[in-house]
């Protein structure tokens, strides 16, 4: 039930925003996040943006494992 999907902010209207992903648009609340900007990627859960996505990718973790070490 904690499912959330990443979507891109394309319009901001006060404490609401229009977000888009794969051609799907939806109006969501943005009052749970500080400083939402146009083009930010945000995670949407039950009609609200709950987190901003950073560009740090999961790949970093993979790289560490490729090197074969984690805790010394």
């Amino acid at each position: 039930m904690c499912l959330a999907v990443p979507m891109k902010v394309i319009e901001i209207k006060g404490d609401m925003a229009i977000v888009e992903s794969a051609g799907l648009r939806r109006e969501v609340g943005i009052m749970l996040l500080d400083k939402v900007k146009l083009k930010d990627w945000v995670l949407i859960h039950a009609g609200f943006a709950i987190s901003k996505l950073t560009h740090k990718q999961a790949r970093e973790t993979l790289a560490i494992f490729e090197e074969g070490r984690f805790f010394g």
């Binding site: 039930m1 904690c2 499912l3 959330a4 009052m31 039950a46 993979l62």
Partner: protein, 372 residues
């Protein structure tokens, strides 16, 4: 292509990773349960490692009494709105789906904002069933603030929100509260129970709950010599998180690691926590399988009491009778795997579920049947 190769390597690494006998890892979150079984990660585990489900499916841990209350409200002619998952959950006598079939106004919504819109459009008393964990609670709090702001006077909440850390504490039996955590005076140092007492070797921690509460909310785990890794939901997230857990377990390192930094900040989301704390405050709450846990639920603060359906309506329900042979409670504590329930995939199946762990698509029993 490169990604597929990386994933294959990661999978091979997990399969051959050294792990001591009877290593038991709990995936706390129902969304993880489904992601694991859908991607088949359970087949990649070293032979000595077992994954068990925890109390992280909101629909599953919600007691029968809550459904009974919602049914009672619907039968008063109140419009009941809910996340779709709740509709099929059997209460002690009926479910919302059955009540809807007999003509009561019960509607599935995607967001509490949709419930708010229904309230302002239809003008009738409209109740939203506030169910979920820390991911969902701020969302519902924000909708509650909107209801007051827009003066939608016919909207209210029936709450059964739950908090994850208190449930994990109860599960590993940490005495609640500071006073209880102190060894009694004069007895010298009391032996701290260790991870061995719980049978658990570590926790795969919920990604989106953690996006709100942050890493430090799990500081009680290292104190109990248990590692935890906050994980995302893709197969490579889950496999790498499991590798981190096994590595820590092998080396006796007890830390909480954030393996989902593209979404989860170490300090969580302060703004969400502020909105949550503006509207709700902790309250003792009942969990299926775990019983009553201090400060593990949320209730509306005095300033929002006007939105409390329990104050607005007289809701009469009888005490729920225990649920026969259903072992959902034991499944939620990681004590048994679903097939150990005598009804599993026989009397209780996804198309005619008897217990909540089979109803919810995120329930462990349902995930075991659906994905094997």
């Amino acid at each position: 292509m490169a990604e597929a190769i990386a994933l294959t390597r990661l999978a091979e690494r997990l399969r051959s990773f050294p792990a001591p006998p009877e290593t038991k890892i709990m995936e706390v979150c129902g969304t993880h349960t489904v992601a694991i079984r859908r991607s088949g990660v359970q087949h990649l585990l070293p032979g000595t490692v077992r994954l068990v489900s925890g109390p992280g499916c909101p629909v599953c841990v919600t007691p029968d009494r809550f459904i009974d209350e919602a049914v009672a409200l619907a039968r008063q002619g109140v419009t009941v709105t809910s996340f779709g998952d709740m509709l099929r959950v059997p209460g002690s006598r009926s479910s919302l789906e059955k009540e809807r079939a007999s003509g009561w106004d019960i509607r599935a919504v995607y967001s509490p904002l949709d419930a708010l819109k229904i309230a302002s459009d239809c003008g009738r008393e409209t109740v939203f069933l506030a169910v979920g964990f820390e991911t969902t609670a701020p969302v519902i709090a924000a909708a509650a603030m909107k209801a007051l702001e827009k003066k939608i006077a016919n909207f209210s909440l029936l709450t059964a929100l739950r908090l994850v850390p208190p449930a994990l504490k109860a599960l590993i039996a940490i005495p609640q509260g500071d006073a209880a955590a102190q060894p009694p005076k004069g007895t010298g140092a009391t032996a701290q129970p260790t991870a061995a007492d719980t049978g658990l070797s570590g926790f795969l921690l919920p990604g989106h709950v953690s996006a709100v509460i942050g890493k430090q909310a799990y500081d009680f785990l290292p104190e109990r010599r248990l590692p935890g890794v906050i994980s995302g939901f893709a197969a490579e997230d889950i496999i790498s998180s499991l590798l981190m857990l096994l590595d820590m377990h092998n080396k006796g390192i007890y830390k909480v690691m954030n393996n989902y930094p593209r979404v989860v900040r170490d300090d969580g989301n302060e703004k969400s926590r502020q909105v949550l704390a503006e509207v709700f405050e902790p309250v003792d709450a009942d969990w299926r399988g775990l019983g009553a846990i201090p400060d593990s639920g949320l209730r509306l603060k005095a300033a929002y009491a006007a939105l409390d359906a329990r104050q607005r309506f007289a809701i009469q329900v009888e005490n729920a009778s225990p649920r026969g042979e259903c072992r959902c409670g034991d499944v939620l504590r990681g004590l048994i795997d679903p097939p150990a329930c005598p009804l599993f995939n026989k009397a209780c199946r996804p198309d005619r579920p008897l217990g909540p762990c089979m109803v919810s698509s995120e329930g462990s029993c349902s995930a075991w049947v659906t994905y094997g």
